[in-house]
């Protein structure tokens, strides 16, 4: 994956506007966070292959970035995005890596379901 280039990512986000797309959205502190630090409140969420349609999408902020997708009846957003890639299957993969290089958040958009 490459560090975010907002112009390029914005262009790809717009390719999926008004199309049925599959979303992978994930936030995580890792399953060991509360093991290493017992006072740490671990929280996260995960959706894989949520089928949605968005009418506008935007990447904003300044390292790390935020991405918001506006749907007819609601919103999807992620913060902490640092890296992106348009993979061989034309899926937009965005992720946020923490200072140790561990994934903390992922937002991915595809016209076909993820495996």
């Amino acid at each position: 994956m490459d560090p975010i280039d907002t112009t390029k990512v914005q262009a790809v986000i717009e390719r999926f506007v008004d199309k049925d797309v599959y979303i992978h959205l994930e936030t995580t502190n890792g399953a060991y966070a509360s093991h290493f630090n017992e006072s740490f409140f671990s929280a996260g969420a995960y959706i894989r292959n949520g089928k949605i349609r968005y009418t506008r999408g935007k990447i904003t902020g300044d390292e790390p970035y935020r991405v918001g997708l506006k749907m007819e009846l609601g919103w999807i957003y992620a913060e902490g995005i640092t890296h992106w890639e348009l993979d061989g299957e034309n899926r937009l993969l965005m992720a946020g890596y923490d200072k140790d290089g561990k994934l903390a958040v992922a937002l991915q958009i595809s016209e076909t379901p993820f495996d």
């Binding site: 994956m1 995580t28 399953a31 992720a95 140790d100 290089g101 994934l103």
Partner: protein, 222 residues
């Protein structure tokens, strides 16, 4: 070391077999005991993507599958069964179904020793649920047919609540294999292994202890 006819290892993640268990596995295989490894998931949700990163969320499963195969090659595990579950979802699955799959493998192989995680003392929900399924599978067997079950536990309260581990295996003779096994899970361990090698060179006692001694709790079924 005690002699076993067949050892069955059941863990949810590729690399669970590497830390704290691979020395025992290597020793069993060196003594001529076949080892079968049921690995429930491909670690799809791993947070490490390599150091420097070479994986992403979508390529990680295939990469970890290859790493698992490589680790099994290092250890000499000829029978690895990837069960097709998804990382971080084991606790939401039908536990009885996973237990049934373990029962089937036990019926097939008649292992005399089963190694898994201690339910409730293994930190990751997948670990605890995997251990639960294995314990349930073995509990169903008539007492005389039950293999010994050795559990890995590492929650902060495990010694306080379970007492000290009753099995302690010296695996110093297969230490190099153990390091190579950990190393085989490159996407997850690249950062860690560099530190291990440095501390090994310095003969650091804490590290040698971690590397050369493997501890297990024998599960008691009453």
């Amino acid at each position: 070391m005690e002699k076993h006819d067949h050892v069955l290892v059941v863990f949810p993640h590729p690399d669970d077999e590497a830390f704290g268990v691979s020395g025992s596995i290597a020793s069993f295989i060196q003594n001529g005991t076949p080892v079968t490894y049921m690995c429930l998931t491909l670690g799809e949700m791993g947070r490490n993507m390599g150091n420097p990163p070479f994986a992403n969320r979508e390529t990680l499963p295939l990469i970890r599958k290859k790493e698992l195969t490589a680790a099994c090659d290092v250890l000499g595990i000829k029978d690895v069964r990837m069960m097709g579950y998804r990382d971080k979802t084991i606790e939401f699955e039908d536990n009885a179904l996973i237990a049934k799959q373990v029962t089937d493998v036990i019926d097939e192989l008649k292992p005399t020793l089963v190694i898994t995680f201690y339910p409730g003392y293994s930190v990751h929900p997948d670990h605890d649920s995997c251990g639960e399924a294995v314990i349930e599978a073995v509990r169903k067997l008539p007492e005389s047919e039950r293999p010994k079950v050795e559990c890995v536990a590492f929650s902060n309260n495990c010694v306080e609540e379970l007492g000290e581990a009753d099995v302690s295996r010296d695996v110093s003779t297969v230490q190099d294999k153990k390091i190579s096994t950990i190393e085989a899970h490159r996407s997850q361990t690249a950062g860690l292994i560099a530190g291990v090698k440095k501390r090994l060179k310095a003969n650091e006692e804490e590290l040698l202890n971690w590397l050369q001694k493997e501890r297990f709790w024998t599960y008691k079924f009453d």
